[in-house]
């Protein structure tokens, strides 16, 4: 029984860690640019494929297997560079438009990236074979927990702390918070919105691609993984509150753990339960648990 619970919690928290990274990317972009980025799931998928390729290349080059997480994470973050392209190439044209058009433009990115990934990596699932087992497992309360999962959970926590520190203790974070509160004011104070938007969107993208890269040793990369994850990330940010980092953290934990429990107890419920919670939150508390005033 305990073993079962430990397994549930660890796999739930592992999933929550990945969800947090993607949702944090969604939140930082929404907070500053007021754009709900449907493409953050696609960035996650891209990160996964880039991660697979990086690890394969690393193994071929003869790198020590124990360090595969380094090329994986580097590739994940590097793939975030696509954010600049999307922001400068597309999004910047629609900042003064109705948010419907902004949403649809990110949907266009979803469509394009899904096929771009298929073109580049093919349609069959890609995985990193046995790398997951490189780090082995630890025995906890009668069950074996993969060390890799613990590493990812730890990394995600570290990133959460880092983001928190970035937002509250650096000039960049101060500018982000000011712009999220009042764009005109920030602009009047001399903040260069063009550069800020490019940076923020790239940061959001990199969080998504990193999430995708880190998940890959535990699961296979598939071209649909992006459009599936976005609805989970969507649930996370709605439950936590749009634009709130704390919301992303708590929301990810709720969604990740609940999903893992639902799958084990009553598989039919899986995401159904999550969406029902989303609806309940939107109806009863549209700001979410930690959000500001609804737009």
């Amino acid at each position: 029984m305990t073993a079962h619970v430990v397994n549930l919690v660890v796999s739930g928290v592992f999933h929550a860690s990945i969800l947090f990274l993607v949702s944090a990317g969604l939140q930082v972009v929404f907070g500053v640019q007021k754009i709900f980025n449907l493409a953050c799931g696609s960035f996650y998928a891209l990160g996964a494929y880039v991660g697979v390729s990086a690890v394969a290349w690393y193994a071929e080059a003869g790198g020590p297997p124990a360090l595969f997480i380094l090329p994986l994470a580097i590739a994940g973050v590097a793939a975030g560079a696509l954010g600049v392209v999307v922001e400068r190439g597309l999004l910047r044209f629609v900042y003064d438009r109705d948010e419907t058009f902004q949403l649809l433009l990110t949907f266009a990115v979803v469509l394009m990236m899904e096929d771009a990934i298929r073109m580049t990596w093919g349609t069959s699932p890609r995985s990193t074979a046995g790398l997951y087992l490189t780090y082995g497992g630890v025995h906890v309360l009668g069950t074996t927990v993969p060390v890799y999962n613990l590493i990812v959970i730890g990394a995600s926590l570290a990133i959460a702390v880092l983001i928190g520190w970035l937002l509250t203790h650096t000039a960049f974070g101060c500018i982000i918070r000011a712009s999220a509160d009042n764009r005109e004011m920030a602009e009047a104070l001399g903040v260069d919105m063009r550069r800020l938007y490019a940076k923020v969107f790239t940061l959001g993208t990199a969080l998504g691609t990193l999430g995708g890269a880190l998940v890959i040793p535990a699961t296979a990369a598939m071209s649909e993984m992006g459009i599936e994850l976005i609805v989970e990330a969507f649930a996370v940010v709605v439950i936590g509150g749009l634009g709130s980092m704390r919301g992303a953290f708590v929301g990810a934990l709720i969604v990740g753990v609940l999903r893992s429990i639902a799958i084990s107890v009553y598989p039919e419920l899986e995401m159904l339960l999550i969406y029902l919670i989303v609806i309940a939150v939107l109806v009863l508390r549209p700001r979410g648990l930690f959000g500001g005033a609804p737009a």
Partner: protein
């Protein structure tokens, strides 16, 4: 008057298509007509009321599954019964869903509709004993106007009676919607789209009118969804997936939400262009994503906005 000529020509072409066009092209008209019905409804919400639903595939799905259940579980084969049942169920679901959704606007409205859409999707996907899960359910060949038509081959049925049946439903749906948008009710919707605060002070109860529009659009989507079933003979959950909701908003924007016939044009171009692109390269999404991006950035009025001389009205700037 040239508008009427274009319309008459389009209708004439649609009537003649099964007789002169290759069967394959005529078959493509079926999903087009089904989507066109759904989009007429979606645009009452989008173009006329100013609300963008990102979960309207929910109602497509309800319509399609209503038909599948009736034909394959309850042995009801009458298409008229199916359409009426689809419309009624669409309205029944839309009534409470809409009552919750219309309390919000913009991104929150979009998110709430998306969440409801995903509830339905997950439900049909997971409760496979009832719905067949991801394999879907058969939508058996419906009888049209009381004739069973079992003697015809599938192709003859589809490009023959079923084609004209769909066309008749589309024409009827168009006429009804044409009246709705030109009614006092339609005018009230437009005031809400343009300025809800002002509409409210003129005594127009914004939430109530949004709810009416939501329910009507759901009925249209459900009827469209039911029409989608027979051509493939099977309905599956992808019809209700969120990307499907995105695609129908895409079609509306492609054709032009500021114009009455824009969404119909959008459905037509989407279906045929998609088929043509897929015949050349397998990656239609890449091309369509690029098209959508170009439209959003450069031509938010869509094709109808490009075709008409006066600039398309930018809705809520």
């Amino acid at each position: 008057m040239s508008g009427r000529l274009v319309l008459a020509a389009a209708l004439g072409a649609a009537v003649l298509a099964p007789l002169v066009a290759p069967t394959y092209q005529a078959l493509l008209m079926l999903p087009f007509m089904a989507y066109a019905v759904a989009l007429l409804g979606l645009n009452l919400l989008f173009g006329y009321t100013g609300l963008v639903s990102f979960g309207h595939a929910l109602f497509l799905g309800i319509g399609a599954y209503t038909g599948a259940f009736l034909t394959s579980v309850f042995k009801v084969r009458s298409m008229e019964v199916i359409l009426v049942a689809a419309a009624a169920l669409g309205a029944l679901v839309a009534a409470p869903v809409g009552a919750l959704c219309v309390r919000y606007v913009k991104i929150y409205f979009g998110m709430l509709t998306l969440a409801f859409g995903m509830v339905f999707y997950t439900f049909v996907l997971k409760f496979y004993r009832l719905t067949g899960g991801d394999e879907g359910m058969p939508f058996l060949r419906p009888a049209l106007l009381g004739r069973s038509l079992e003697g015809l081959s599938k192709i003859d049925y589809l490009v023959g009676p079923y084609y004209y049946y769909s066309l008749a439903v589309l024409v009827l749906a168009t006429l009804v919607m044409w009246r709705i948008v030109r009614s006092p009710f339609g005018l009230c919707l437009k005031t809400i789209r343009d300025n809800p605060t002002k509409a409210e002070t003129l005594g127009i109860g914004v939430a109530r009118y949004r709810w009416y529009a939501f329910v009507i659009s759901a009925v249209y989507a459900a009827v469209g969804g039911a029409l989608l079933g027979p051509p493939t003979g099977n309905v599956d959950p992808t019809l209700a997936y969120w990307t499907q909701s995105g695609n129908i908003v895409f079609m509306t924007l492609l054709g032009g939400f500021a114009s009455f016939f824009g969404p119909v044009l959008g459905a037509f171009v989407f279906i045929y262009l998609q088929d043509w692109v897929m015949s050349i390269v397998p990656f239609w999404r890449l091309i369509f994503g690029a098209i959508l991006a170009v439209i959003v950035i450069f031509a938010p009025g869509g094709l109808a906005g490009l075709l008409t001389p006066r600039p398309a009205a930018a809705p809520r700037p």
